[in-house]
Symmetry: C2
Subunit: 302 residues, 2 copies
DNA sequence: GCGCTCCATACGCCTAGAGATATCAGACCG
DNA sequence: CGGTCTGATATCTCTAGGCGTATGGAGCGC
């Protein structure tokens, strides 16, 4: 790519003159006087090294060389004008691409409304939605694979990343409907001490896992985990088979399964937080826009 | 098409920096110092209205807006550079299109060599070859349908057009081989007075037609034209059938037909000229080149 | 902590070129 | 033959911007 030889203003003048084929009219369209236009064309011809127009008074015509240059000049000008507009649209956040990672359970709660609101406000923005658990989201944020993470129980030791709580919800006990506690409206946590547990593996979201274990510990027992499952959907399915019980964020009530009962637990204080995460140094306006959308869309509801 | 806002040098700097992602190296590739490059990018960003790069020392990256602008800028630059090269090629006559009209009879004589030589010298030039008689060539030259005409007996009353003789050749008598004059090596023109004639219609080339009639008149008779044919090829075929005789430029000897004899005529002085014609005000370099090729290729041979 | 790398800032210089006004020259027309 | 239209020339002004040198300041590695 060598140094550009043809100034754009001259090319612009060239294109307009090629359309008007009349120095006076072209100059008027350019908003300048006629002599400067003659100069522009002349300079351009000097640089090209050949005449671009034949001028017989009243009879301005493109030369073969001019005809050859015209489409290239036109393309270059429209490319630049379009590219500039596109860059501005992206820069101002009216267009572009935003990559979002989200925990599967959120697909049942805040995610649909959020996406709908955002798409409505920024129809030009393409959203890449990736379902992924907490730990991969953190990693993906770090290596710029996603721009926004929606996850549970954000880790506290992350530099470079910022977290903001979107939603705080209590835990519920997940019981097979045949379970002897399913008849109660609420369950004392300690009553689950003897039931086998189905949980997510610690790996997919250590903080949430630790919090659940901590709840049980605080209630005076260590849960007997007989089975791991990567998704809450699967956990519920396993509970339905009678394999065991579980503790889960309240929003998974949306998973409706015939043989599964969700029951409030006592004590009721423990809550799990859903947070939005992004890179602290990410100045992508779309990130800002999405954060704003979250604020207005789900104003810290419980 | 509105006024271009982004100066090309800045776009060039932008593209190079986007490739190098390093101010120092990019500046070196541009052949300038580093501070000016910083300024260029800064000015460009000011005009766009958004940052195009994120600069952490040692870690220069394109922003989304920058990524959006980059392909447009690259296209514009290559378009201009290619377009300029193409325009220069056309302007200097190394490329382009040349439209040539020629009389059918010339396809047997000067045309093949001429085209071969020209194509060899200017392989980038596309030649449009149209077979047409004299009068249509004149018209086509006037309304810019062809750029070069190769025709017989140029009219003398044409302004705006220039003619240069390429070839001058004598006339020959075209006789059926059964004709009683076919036994002679040469034919006195007056001996044809009683034979019916086959000729081209006057319309397709008035000067040549008038010259043939004039020859007969000078020999003391008015030819009895019993049949017209638009092509010499056809004239010869008709002569072969014994329909009549004809007078034709010597180069049609190349049309070899069993039943046709070509004989030198006396007096031997009358010659027909083949000329190249072009528009006087046509500055297309290809026209000049073709004229030069004709000069060197057929140096006024008889 | 020191130096190195890398980019930004701050002047200052200078040219290209974009613009205007005034004027000239050729073609065409009544 | 003069008026009009069209484009070219001449001359001047002004400024945007391209480039340089000198310097500042933030990370990063040893």
């Amino acid at each position: 790519m060598e140094r550009p030889e043809l100034p754009l203003p001259q090319l612009h003048a060239f294109v307009v003159l090629a359309e008007e084929l009349h120095f006076g009219h072209a100059a008027a369209r350019l908003g300048i006087a006629q002599p400067p236009l003659s100069q522009q064309i002349r300079r351009l011809e000097d640089k090209v090294g050949h005449a671009l127009f034949t001028r017989a008074p009243g009879r301005v015509t493109l030369t073969p060389a001019g005809s050859e240059l015209l489409p290239a000049a036109r393309r270059a000008l429209t490319d630049l004008s379009d590219g500039l507009a596109a860059a501005r649209a992206v820069g101002s956040g009216r267009a572009g691409r935003l990559r979002i990672g989200f925990a599967a359970s959120l697909a049942l709660t805040i995610l649909p409304g959020l996406l709908r609101t955002f798409r409505h406000q920024f129809p030009g923005v393409h959203l890449d939605i990736h379902e992924m658990t907490t730990a991969p989201q953190i990693a993906a944020l770090h290596d710029q694979t996603i721009d926004i993470g929606l996850l549970r129980e954000p880790p506290t030791d992350e530099t470079e990343l910022v977290f903001r709580t979107v939603l705080s919800e209590p835990f519920v006990a997940v019981l097979p409907s045949t379970h002897h506690l399913a008849g109660q409206r609420a369950v004392q946590l300690s009553q689950l001490a003897d039931s086998p547990f189905v949980l997510l593996p610690r790996m997919v979201g250590p903080p949430l896992h630790d919090q659940i274990i901590g709840l049980c510990t605080a209630a005076g027992f260590t849960p007997q985990v007989v089975q791991h499952a990567v998704e809450w959907q699967t956990v519920c399915a396993l509970v339905e088979t009678g394999l065991g019980v579980s503790l889960a964020p309240a929003s998974i009530r949306r998973i409706r399964l015939k043989g599964v009962a969700f029951r409030r637990i006592e004590p009721h204080t423990a809550r799990t937080r859903v947070a939005v995460a992004w890179r602290e140094n990410d100045h992508n306006p779309l990130v800002t826009h999405l954060l704003a959308t979250i604020s207005q869309d789900s104003p810290d509801r419980t």
